[in-house]
């Protein structure tokens, strides 16, 4: 088999891959290929037909397909090579990439690889809901694909578990299509999606949201017939005597996204246990030289606008990497206190400005986020509120970093 040599191979033609390709091209890198598994580019945005995308980037509210088309148009105009209907099955630490397509096996060798494979949804099996195994239990994104791409309605009497944004958006979508969405149950004591979606997807359609509740039984043989819901205590243990039965033919699970890193692992990329994505430096380079990651495969984002920015930032670093053959070593580790779930990047060089992305673990009011090095606060951001549903981003100026000492990100509640 002939090995095709490329400067950059981008794995995944969703919003992250598309934005990375365009910015690489802007920086003069022309020998690029995007490999996409689906028949079309656009990634998950193809099925996100609701509006609200692009507010920060384009100053207008677009649907997912419109947002991604703006990037696809440019990719086509610039003649950036894309190969669709092709699945990457292996990457080595030496950046050899094997893909399968209708034409057979393809092999690439890249100077640099961009990992933009996105996420998968957490499934029923992963959260161990007891009961039978009837049809009618769907992940929110799967139901979204059925309805918005394949013209197949998934059910009539619907219960939703998990208050993630996709779940709430599907509550509205299914209501518009004539389904009776009875309730959304959330195990945590706070919603996991954005407040605007609670308003415009649930409250607008009188769909109740029950916090501190979970499903403790699934009933039905061939098709789902009903579920049992229980209140949970602070440790998420169902409280006996609080069971309530609901009849339904459909259960939608919106219980979290997990970065899709099988290929990253094959390449030997070190993952972060907290994000389930790669450990990266300020250049979005992983533990394997020449392999970079961004978008939802790196960390689950709340807004696609931030995914595009992250991909462009990656592309700028990658362009430097390709022209210089090397990037500055990143020896400064970034740690967090218990209030913050993670940061991206996890390490920096101190020689470059960078943007820290993070999420808080629980809702907080009137707090400040302090970035500390050698006991000196190098940046403070005051927040009226901070919620786990929203990613927080903080810019750090390189001039503030004066040593190779660890950087700590802590929350101070006033």
């Amino acid at each position: 088999m002939t090995v095709i040599k490329k400067d950059v191979v981008i794995i995944g033609g969703g919003p992250a891959g598309l934005a990375a390709a365009l910015q690489l091209r802007n920086r003069g890198i022309t020998d690029i290929i995007i490999i996409e598994r689906e028949k079309q580019l656009g990634g998950i945005l193809r099925q996100c037909i609701h509006d609200g995308f692009g507010l920060t980037r384009f100053k207008e509210t677009l649907s997912g397909p419109e947002y991604s088309q703006k990037f696809i148009d440019q990719v086509e105009e610039l003649g950036i090579e894309c190969i669709t209907g092709t699945t990457v099955i292996d990457i080595t630490s030496k950046r050899k990439i094997t893909a399968v397509s209708r034409k057979g096996l393809l092999e690439y060798e890249a100077r640099a690889v961009v990992l933009t494979m996105g996420c998968r949804e957490r499934t029923r099996g992963a959260i161990s809901i007891p009961g039978t195994r009837p049809s009618g239990v769907y992940n929110a994104g799967v139901a979204q694909a059925y309805i918005n791409l394949h013209n197949t309605m998934v059910g009539k009497e619907v219960i939703i578990l998990g208050s993630g944004d996709i779940g709430m958006i599907m509550a509205r979508r299914m209501t518009l299509e004539g389904a009776n969405v009875k309730a959304v149950f959330e195990m945590q004591s706070y919603p996991s999606g954005l407040p605007r979606n609670i308003q415009q997807c649930l409250n607008d359609y009188d769909i109740p949201l029950y916090l501190s509740h979970t499903i403790t039984n699934i009933k039905g043989q061939s098709r789902l017939e009903g579920i049992t819901v229980s209140k949970v205590d602070e440790k998420f243990k169902p409280i006996p005597g609080t069971q309530k039965d609901y009849t339904c033919d459909t259960l939608i699970l919106s219980v979290g996204l997990i970065p899709e890193n099988e290929l990253s692992l094959a390449a030997g990329v070190n993952l972060d246990n907290r994000t389930k994505g790669a450990i990266v430096d300020e250049n979005y380079q992983t533990s394997i030289e020449g392999i970079f990651a961004c978008g939802n495969v790196l960390q689950v984002h709340d807004l696609v606008d931030f995914v595009s920015l992250e991909a462009e930032s990656l592309a700028n670093s990658m362009a430097d990497y390709i022209s210089d053959g090397k990037l500055p070593e990143c020896k400064i580790n970034i740690t967090t206190d218990a209030n913050i779930s993670h940061t991206i990047p996890q390490k920096v060089s101190g020689k470059k400005d960078f943007k820290l992305s993070m999420r808080v673990r629980k809702p907080l009011k009137d707090c400040e986020i302090d970035v500390i090095q050698n006991k000196v606060v190098i940046k403070t951001v005051k927040l009226k509120k901070a919620i786990p549903a929203e990613m927080i981003q903080i810019k750090i100026d390189k001039t503030k970093i004066r040593s190779l000492g660890e950087i700590e990100v802590v929350v101070v509640v006033r």
């Binding site: 088309q69 979508r173 518009l176 709340d302």
Partner: protein, 121 residues
Amino acid sequence: MIKKYTCIVCPNGCEIEAFIEGTTIFKIDGATCSKGKEYVKQEIANPQRNIATSVYVDGGDLPLASVRLSKAIPKDRIFDVMNEIKKVKLTAPVKIKQIVIENVLNLGSDVIATKIIDRIV
């Protein structure tokens, strides 16, 4: 009377409080931008929403084209507009921003396509 609102204009989702007596608004608190104030005034007067759904497409590479409204419509007309959209069938090709229904139900808003559907031959 104090009424609480969650602004839906942007992902910030500001929690806004309005002090109202009858139809008079005395004060709007908690909005980080002017759009939030406008949103609450609109919510009090006549709540408006946009909707997104799909229409059938004949002869396309996908069975559905996604659509949305060019501007928001009164919230209580959402299902009326859904019924109008359900009656439509397009023929591929479909372009983004193509008008699917002009001035739907005289509400001053167009139903527009948001996805490219290529014709398959």
